[in-house]
């Protein structure tokens, strides 16, 4: 659905975000990928880490692509939650570059933590300096990672690293690890200004 690139050739060079997510996942675990697109991430995780993977998708074309990629996929609308999945039935639940397009943000984070022992969320950092610069110039940001115009964007809940971390604090979400990437490079200095893609691994705060 959102901005997942369609990639059939899977290599960490082409998709540095895959490698970043994979680094957080233990081998032979059970993984649910929400908004899994064509199943490329799950294919990658299955091939590299022998995980047991399932995807959730709403789009017909992507469902078919998942079948072609030999990925288990369940057609369902994430906005209506994960009622088809048992509590605590997955080691990891991933929401990759989809959070910003979801209507029911709080509900999906809650559902991720109900179904998964850990959640992994990635999103484009709206606080990146290029976005800030475009707004300073008076326009909504358009970039390779946010390729839409203001009037046709599916991204209705964009946020910065600070926004997300505040959200987690307010919603009993315990962040275990954060990684910020700009292309292939990890961004450690001033990530909310210089980082393009944010990765969070989190669990329920006890």
């Amino acid at each position: 659905m959102i901005m997942t690139e369609i990639t059939n050739t899977i290599s960490p060079q082409l998709r540095p975000d895959f490698a970043t997510i994979a680094a957080w996942i233990k081998p032979a675990t059970k993984v649910l990928d929400l908004g899994c697109g064509d199943g490329a991430l799950l294919r990658y995780l299955t091939d590299t880490l022998q995980i047991k993977g399932y995807g959730v998708e709403i789009d017909d074309t992507n469902i078919l692509a998942c079948l072609n990629n030999r990925i288990n996929v369940i057609q369902s609308d994430l906005e209506s939650g994960l009622s088809g999945f048992e509590s605590n039935s997955f080691d990891y639940v991933i929401l990759s570059q989809t959070l910003q397009a979801m209507r029911h943000t709080e509900n999906i984070i809650h559902e991720i933590l109900r179904v998964g022992k850990e959640g992994i969320v990635t999103f484009p950092n709206f606080g990146h300096w290029k976005n800030r610069l475009q707004i300073l110039r008076g326009f909504m940001p358009v970039s390779p990672i946010l390729p839409y115009e203001w009037f046709d964007t599916p991204n209705i809940h964009l946020c910065t690293l600070k926004d997300f971390e505040q959200f987690c604090h307010q919603h009993r979400v315990h962040i275990l690890e954060r990684r910020v990437m700009t292309g292939n490079q990890q961004t450690t200095f001033a990530p909310n200004l210089l980082g393009m893609l944010a990765f969070y691994r989190f669990t329920q705060r006890k």
């Binding site: 399932y54 072609n68 288990n72 996929v73 369940i74 088809g84 048992e86």
Partner: protein, 375 residues
């Protein structure tokens, strides 16, 4: 005539089984016959067999045509054939007529060798559990250790599920289309109205109408008319018939006035001449009885414990007889058992009957899934 990628001319085959079949109901069928058809070639490893399970009124004639009746294409001819979603160039496809049926396998119209009369009302009640056992025995006779896939829609989907439950080692993949894990009260209610239509027909003669040289035509016709309404959607009926009148003006009588009446009566009449009323009664009971969770405190996930097959589950948005929600409960049980499962809800306007229709996306899904089955 028939499409160019049809399997062409096919011939039904018969197998006789002498070992008694202990039925779910407690009754015993001493011996029985199965009629089936096969398409494509069984490979050397005998690992490419696909079993097609039929729905309520289906049979073993799944694809191709008969030499003496080139217009009578199999009921799933659009799905099965060379280059089709279930590709007979790759798979050895088997269509079977279930016992209790009326197309050649032992059923109520078969002569009971003990009495030299048709079984009629004496034919024992059967269930999907009994059918699953006959599938296992058929596989044995054909020297097939494991089906590459078992595929079915509606009651056929339930039969496929049943085999995966009863003989986990025999099923590598199950494709369950427009099915449910059990019938709702509404489903059973429709079935019982259909049964009452048949049983209360004076020509039913307690099920032994064969001896009276008659058939409960009116009852069977009503049963089919009712069933047919539930297989279609309100939208598809509106689209196809609307309130169109046959003659263009109201007649103020009880004759056929609206096109939908004409259509349903025609379907009912045609069916009543072709199908056995006792089989119809039996098939509706098989549907009502299907409930694998029943022995597990209504816990479907517990029922699926031990199942090994990989699953493709498909539903249709406009199917109100076995709605997508019913399929999702099957998916949930499979997920709970860590089984491989994919599920798609196909946008469709044609109601329950969608599973028989040619739809690009639907057929693509089946094709993609089947393509990835190793043989």
């Amino acid at each position: 005539m028939h499409d160019s990628d049809s399997i062409g001319i096919v011939t039904p085959q018969h197998l006789h089984f002498d070992s008694p079949l202990q039925l779910d109901s407690g009754a015993i069928l001493d011996s029985y016959e199965l009629v089936y058809e096969t398409y494509g070639e069984l490979n050397a490893a005998r690992s490419n067999a696909v079993l097609i399970c039929h729905a309520l009124s289906g049979n073993h004639h799944v694809a191709g045509v008969y030499a003496d009746n080139p217009k009578n294409a199999g009921w799933w001819n659009n799905m099965i054939g060379p280059g089709k979603p279930i590709d007979t160039n790759r798979f050895f496809v088997i269509g079977i007529n279930n016992i209790g049926g009326c197309h050649g396998s032992t059923g109520p119209a078969t002569i009971n060798t003990k009495t030299n009369k048709p079984f009629g009302a004496d034919f024992p009640m059967v269930t999907t559990i009994d059918w699953a056992e006959t599938y296992v025995r058929l596989a044995q006779r054909l020297n097939i250790d494991q089906f590459a896939a078992v595929v079915g829609g509606s009651l056929g989907g339930m039969s496929a599920m049943q085999l995966s439950l009863d003989a986990p080692e025999k099923v590598r993949h199950a494709v369950v289309i427009a099915a449910a894990a059990k019938l709702t009260a509404q489903n059973i209610a429709f079935n019982d109205v259909a049964r009452q239509a048949i049983i209360t027909d004076p020509d039913y003669h307690g099920g032994d109408y064969y001896a009276q040289q008659t058939i409960p035509r009116r009852g069977l016709r009503l049963a089919r008319m009712l069933g047919h309404i539930t297989y279609l959607s309100d939208d598809s009926m509106a689209e196809k018939f609307g309130r169109e009148l046959r003659s263009g003006s109201l007649g103020y009588n009880f004759d056929v006035e609206f096109q939908i009446e004409s259509y349903l009566r025609y379907q009912g009449d045609k069916f009543a001449e072709q199908f056995d009323a006792n089989t119809y009664l039996l098939m509706t009971k098989v549907l009502d009885y299907f409930d694998p969770a029943r022995d597990y405190n209504n816990d479907l996930s517990a029922a699926f414990h031990g199942v090994k097959a990989n699953f493709l589950v498909l539903s249709f948005s406009s199917d109100w007889r076995f709605s997508p929600e019913r399929s999702r409960s099957i998916v949930k049980a499979l997920l709970d058992n860590n089984l491989n499962v994919s599920y798609a809800e196909i946008a469709s306007r044609h109601g329950h009957d969608s599973f028989l229709m040619k739809d690009d996306h639907y057929h693509q899904l089946v094709r993609s899934y089947m393509n990835n089955i190793t043989t």
